[in-house]
């Protein structure tokens, strides 16, 4: 299996706008000749992170980055996750999309963006501002697992990782806690009977697997191009409900398991040097301890 040769930037660079009229063509399900109407309830996790375009600065106490007054937005992979869930709903495979966020009060803005993109309702698990930094994937996974039970969900779609901590762990942990199959780094999702056929982007290329429902899927970059939240949809989203609760209400203990010792800027890139020939190159590499 070969990875497709097209080169793309590592962030969504162009999007199609899908409005209330739904004029854009959606991809069709190849595997069956007739559409299957399912009634999946899909839970999607969305995280409020520092906007990808912002220049990050390390805090003076060297234990984190500056977040005060800095522009935040929805994690780009979570946008892709929401877009996928909404498309499933438009194809009548899903019947309800619930957007969930664990974060401070401002996380509600992120949930509202998800509602404006097409989610039906939201759940905000409020984490006090001081504890937000220390929230770990394991905590979020436990919260998601609990909510899955409460909401009787059939599918969980998460972004593959958050661009602030790059953990790439929540989807996997959630699946493990629920003892559900997981399909991570999804670049294509197709529905076949009671199963999902997922194309995964892995180091060696593309892997196509089948997972039985219920399952946890994590969205990768090329899964889709998220829609812009149109202004009329933003207004309509005002009427959609966001339930609020605390982690303790779900019986999840959010005390940290590890401690951040130091946060620093990556070292400033130094100038390189040119060498005359390969022998000098090998000598220099040996001197630097690289070989």
């Amino acid at each position: 299996m070969k990875l497709k040769p097209e080169v793309r930037q590592d962030r969504p660079s162009t999007r199609r706008v899908q409005g209330i009229r739904g004029r854009v063509q959606l991809f069709s399900i190849k595997s069956s000749p007739f559409t299957i109407t399912m009634s999946l309830r899909v839970l999607v996790g969305v995280k409020r992170v520092i906007d990808y375009a912002v220049k990050i600065r390390v805090r003076p106490d060297k234990l984190g980055v500056v977040t005060d007054g800095v522009k935040h937005s929805m994690n780009p992979f979570d946008e892709i996750a929401i877009e996928e869930a909404v498309r499933l709903k438009e194809k009548k495979i899903a019947k309800e999309v619930v957007a969930i966020s664990c974060g401070p009060t401002q996380a509600q803005e992120t949930i509202r963006t998800a509602l404006a993109m097409g989610a039906d309702r939201g759940i905000h698990v409020e984490i006090p501002a001081k504890e937000v930094e220390k929230l770990e994937p394991l905590h979020v996974a436990k919260i998601m697992a609990k909510l899955v039970e409460q909401e009787k969900a059939d599918l969980v779609v998460l972004g593959k990782q958050a661009i602030d901590d790059d953990s790439n762990a929540t989807a996997q942990m959630t699946a493990a806690l629920l003892d559900w199959p997981q399909a991570t780094f999804a670049s294509k999702i197709e529905k076949t009977d009671g199963e999902l056929q997922v194309t995964r982007e892995v180091d060696g290329g593309l892997e196509i697997i089948k997972v039985k429902l219920p399952a946890v899927v994590s969205a990768d970059l090329r899964l889709n191009e998220p829609r812009y939240a149109t202004l009329p949809n933003i207004m309509k989203a005002k009427k959609k409900k966001i339930a609020k609760m605390k982690a303790a209400d779900l019986g999840v203990d959010t005390s940290p398991h590890f401690e951040v010792l130091d946060v620093a800027d990556p070292p400033v890139r130094e100038a390189g040097i040119k060498v005359e020939d390969v022998d000098t190159l090998v000598t220099k590499l040996k001197d630097a301890g690289r070989i």
């Binding site: 007054g69 803005e109 812009y228 933003i234």
Partner: protein
Amino acid sequence: MLLPCRLLSSVAPQRLWVGLGSRVTGSVNSLTSFRAINTSPKDASTPAVQHADEENTSTEAAKLKKPKRAPFIKNLFLGRFDKSVLEFPEVLDQDQHELLHEMVVPIERYFLEQVDGPKIDRDAKIPEETLQGLKELGLFGQQIPQEYGGLGLGATEYARIAEITSLDGSIAVTLAAHQAIGLKGILICGTDAQKEKYLPQLACGDWTAAFCLTEPSSGSDAASIQTRATLSDDGKTWLINGSKIWISNGGFADLMTVFAKTTEILPSGEKKDKVTAFIVERSFGGVSSGPPEDKLGIRGSNTCEVFFDNTPVPAENVLGEVGGGFKVAMNILNSGRFSMGSSGAGMLKRLLSWSIDHAVNRKQFGNYLSEFAMIKEKFGRMSANIYAMESMAYLTAGILDGQEDPDCSVEAAIVKVFSSEGAWKWCSECLQVLGGLGYMKSYPFERYLRDARILLIFEGTNEILRLFIGLSGLQTAGGELREVVQKLRNPLMNPGFIIGKGIERFRQQKDNPKLDLDIAGHLHPTLQPSAQLLEYCVKRFQYSVEMVLAKHGQAVAAPKNQLDVARLADCAIDLYAMTAVLSRASRAYCIGLKNAAHEIQLASVFSAEAAERIKTRVRDLEIGPVQNHDDLYSRIADAVVENKGYVAEHPLTRTFW
């Protein structure tokens, strides 16, 4: 008494001054003067606010009665300062505020990701997909009420979104031509039937609108248009014939607000030509458009001629009243102008960031550019001017949203004049900071500069708007000052008034007016010096208004007296700007906004310089046209025009060898 006689000669002459337009009616010599404003003098110092009982439990259903205030600038011409504007308006409630800021995010993203400015400029066309995306975002129906499918946004929200759409001049103008003027007529004075018929498809962008007023021989002089509409014999259809030029969206608009002359037969049997506004669909037939004009800037915006050849328009498509078209046109233009302030400010803020980025990275003579005083001065002045632009725009929007039936025509004109000239000048300065790079097409500065040039021309040229500002104010003042003149002509019946006026006049002539407005009392104490300056300027302005009226009387609107009217207008512009920045800075400090101290600095320096400009202009009015050089320039211009060119002999000419 000698004093009253001197007063008499220096105030308005016996002949009554009647202002421009036909708004002022009534017999010339009547004692009960017709007023251009509808408030009584005692309203001035104590802002009378008429709030209804607040029984709103649900924010959506609340129809809170808004206060009604007199127009601010028009009253300033009479020395009346409505101190309620010193309280910077807080218009949006929390829900609206949150909603607005949610809406701003996708619009900004769309513009940054999907709009290719250089390509639009190069190809002189906005790609269809880009326009489609804008329609789906909902940007074509911002101010259309929600029940017709629009977003139902108010002036403040519209102004905020204009800050983002200014990222591309062609798109900004296309949107504005569609909704700020093209369909605004239907919003302002359309019948319910017209609204129901047209607004839904205009809101989602299925139909685009255009505003058709200008003709080859009628630009600034809008009342002289020659397109004609004749009523059919059965009285059911109008036939429109004529041609319009420079119509934005003219090449593809489905709906046009067209202004044409209709003949009215007066009771006396006399025929009078009046302007009437019509809603014309392209599908009515007889409508054709010329090729798109090749322009200096906003090249992606479609501008072309539109021809009407016996276009049949049903009688129910008359907008407003037959013969009332001029007023419709003026109302439409007045209501859209203020957003130029926020769109100009939005564009300049961006350009400022880019130029600063260049200045902190480029080194010459061992220093970064940002360390040189000449560059720093540009950034400093520009910041103060952007601050003034924003403050005026949102102050005006706040008045439009927050008051009942507000008359902001002069304020909107002021915002337009100040912002258009500021945008042009500061765009040029930003380009200058980059030097040669700024001149290259590979950088966006030259495109923004070219796009900004039109701002001084369309929606009423700045020259016309200066006359409008000056003459509207003078009309207001003239109406009221008649009473003053009456009293002055009867000194023995009004001794107290005569003495008071005498003392006031004496102080003004010594440039020491009594400051009794207590503007400082309504602002944060840090701004006290600026507040005193503002009061002084208000008083001097009032004095100069009386001076101009006394000097010219009825002839103030004559072509040769425009420079004095323009001076008054420039003073009014600076006064409004000073008021807006002080009001906003005071609020920022009082509510504890971040960087409020910086805002105080911006406001103080802007006010100080504005006050100097006002002082100079009042002085110029005092010393008269000979000493302020108006006369000389006029004679030079006469010579040059007669010669059809430059008059002075070439420097190399010799008369001897």
